[in-house]
Chain length 360, copies 2
């Protein structure tokens, strides 16, 4: 029986995409080979990379002067690639609104002065600092943000309007809501939430910014090199890109980003409304900054939280355990989580609430 | 119809492994999820990573004091990781015996003095320099070799017995022949030849060597960090590791490295014998250094080569076109290429030879 998988990533993928991939797993497009076996220089495979790039461009309305590349190593590798490609003046600003934002900042410090100009750790990252009141550094090479915080369930409701190029890690929300790419210098995202199985990372970067990586930048981390080679400088993570292409086709066929945003807001709305009206469950993020992708909640009783996670699993609602830094529960409701999954979760939450009235 | 795929990588995988992966593609081990969807922190998935590591250890008899890690970015990323983890004295030796050996050497120069102490480009990389007669640099941090040259079809028949730790890129031959790991400081290999679909790279390193990466080494390229986190520092390329595990199980079930070496030598022997006795085809690599994985050959006539590749494809023998740096043909006959595939190729070569007698 297929479960509803609320994992934060790797995470659920569209069932019809999985079925399509399974169907042609031994014979990709009539080539007589699995897509896991075909040469990345084969025309049939190169067409996949090219189509995936074009779908990203179309779905996010990426301006012409931006590259769209598929690389490896996850967002964590990009934490280094960002300074190694951009830190020419040796100084950058970081807004630290969660665990991965902090890691990006710490990595930045390996290569220059990384100024932490905003920090919401004082209230366990349950809000985003007011981006209009931050002291941006004059002459900074970039301002780095993490647009959606997977662990703490917060996200930017508006983005910094800074002079320096804005660099955003959008791993846990890319393709979930409409984004004006032209406001950003660089957007990067690990694929394993809204795009594909783990193993591929997407980088969208303004070409005028990436012409001169630092000398110490590994060739494979040079966005310019990857762009000039159409993401095929070396052997790409072929299966993940193939799956990304199927997911993007599926997103387009279902109305694109605007339509999935509507559905995502509906799903998140159902869940937050229920939580806010529940005597048992609580979400601590300020409403303005609540993520529509990751919804953490607690009962306030650790034993009860553990019971919830265990019983939910038995009911076919899996990977609801909160991150170890937060505890409690977390429902990641990415693009591929159907409305029915969220409704099933809410039904379970209601039932659990009733059954555990006396405990509270 | 399933073809025989002679691609240099990504390349053919064992059919029974592909069938097994297909069978459980929508429901991994009864979890109700695809293996492409399951959290990398789920016990069911962590068991896969752990089993894959143990199989590598068992099949290659990896000594206890070596780490075995799964990372991303291909061997090309390791070209930078090698100096970034090891180049403490700022000097290393490189033996340049092919295209990727050259790239590794060029990358080394980004981080210190990379001495090219051997070079076989004078005869188009058709041999390996005598490793006993090279001038190894006193105090070098390591000596880097590429043990098998995918493009030119040569390989080391014996390895340098140097004072500095020996670092080997074994991408195109790992698991193909018995290897005394203890002779090496570091072995690394992209998976997409003998191990798994593209997207994962294996690093086997003596732990005493990797304790202090350079300060400028990206966290994700620090072998020590990956080792301490059991290859789960961040989200791993989960599907590729899963497939690697299936391939390794399959290798073990079929007699391990010793047995596959016997088969590989048999397959390569058939092909080289036929080529050496043919009036039409020629392999230019000195017999002592001939790869048992990659077998390039030419007719000496470019038009005829192109005709060969096109007609072979029609006969279900695909990806036989040689690398653009060499031209002609190349048959990559990795572990997963069945003996029948090599025999089918030889039959086709015979037929083509007869049909094109007048052209020669």
């Amino acid at each position: 029986m297929r479960v509803y998988n609320f994992a934060a990533g790797p995470s659920t993928l569209p069932l019809n995409v999985l079925e399509e991939a399974k169907k042609e797993f031994l014979d990709f497009g009539g080539t007589g080979m699995s897509v896991t076996e075909i040469s990345h220089r084969d025309k049939a495979y190169m067409a996949v990379v090219s189509e995936a790039e074009n779908l990203v461009r179309e779905l996010l309305k990426v301006p012409e002067d931006y590259c769209v590349i598929f690389v490896q190593g996850g967002a964590s590798t990009q934490f280094a690639a960002v300074p190694l490609n951009l830190m020419h003046n040796g100084v950058a600003d970081y807004i630290v609104t969660g665990n991965f934002a902090k890691k990006a900042w710490q990595e930045g410090k390996l290569y220059g002065t990384a100024n932490k100009i905003g920090d919401s750790s004082d209230r366990t990252y349950t809000y985003i600092p007011n981006v209009h009141k931050l002291s941006y550094t004059e002459g900074a090479d970039y301002v780095h943000i993490t647009s959606n915080n997977t662990i703490f369930g917060s996200r930017y409701s508006e983005f910094p309007d800074c002079k320096a190029p804005l660099v955003a890690d959008m791993s846990s929300e890319i393709f979930s809501r409409e984004t004006d790419v032209s406001k950003f210098g660089v957007i990067y995202a690990g694929a394993q939430k809204n795009l594909a199985p783990a193993g591929v990372t997407i980088v969208i970067a303004k070409r005028s910014l990436i012409g001169e990586p630092l000398n110490i930048c590994p060739t494979m981390l040079r966005w310019k090199v990857q762009d000039e080679n159409g993401s095929l400088y070396n052997t790409p993570p072929a299966f993940s890109i193939y799956m990304a292409n199927l997911v993007l086709r599926n997103l387009k066929a279902n109305g694109g980003v605007k339509e999935i945003q509507r559905i995502n807001e509906y799903k998140a709305g159902l869940l937050y409304d229920f939580i806010d009206n529940s005597p048992l469950y609580k979400n601590n993020v300020l409403p303005e900054f609540r993520s529509i992708m990751n919804v953490p909640f607690v009962t306030g009783n650790e034993e009860l939280d553990a019971k919830f996670v265990a019983e939910a699993k038995k009911a076919g609602l899996v990977s609801l355990k909160g991150h170890r830094l937060v505890g409690g529960m977390r429902a990641s409701i990415y693009n591929a989580m159907p409305v029915e999954g969220v409704k099933a979760l809410i039904e379970f939450m209601k039932k659990f609430e009733l059954e555990n009235k006396t405990t509270v």
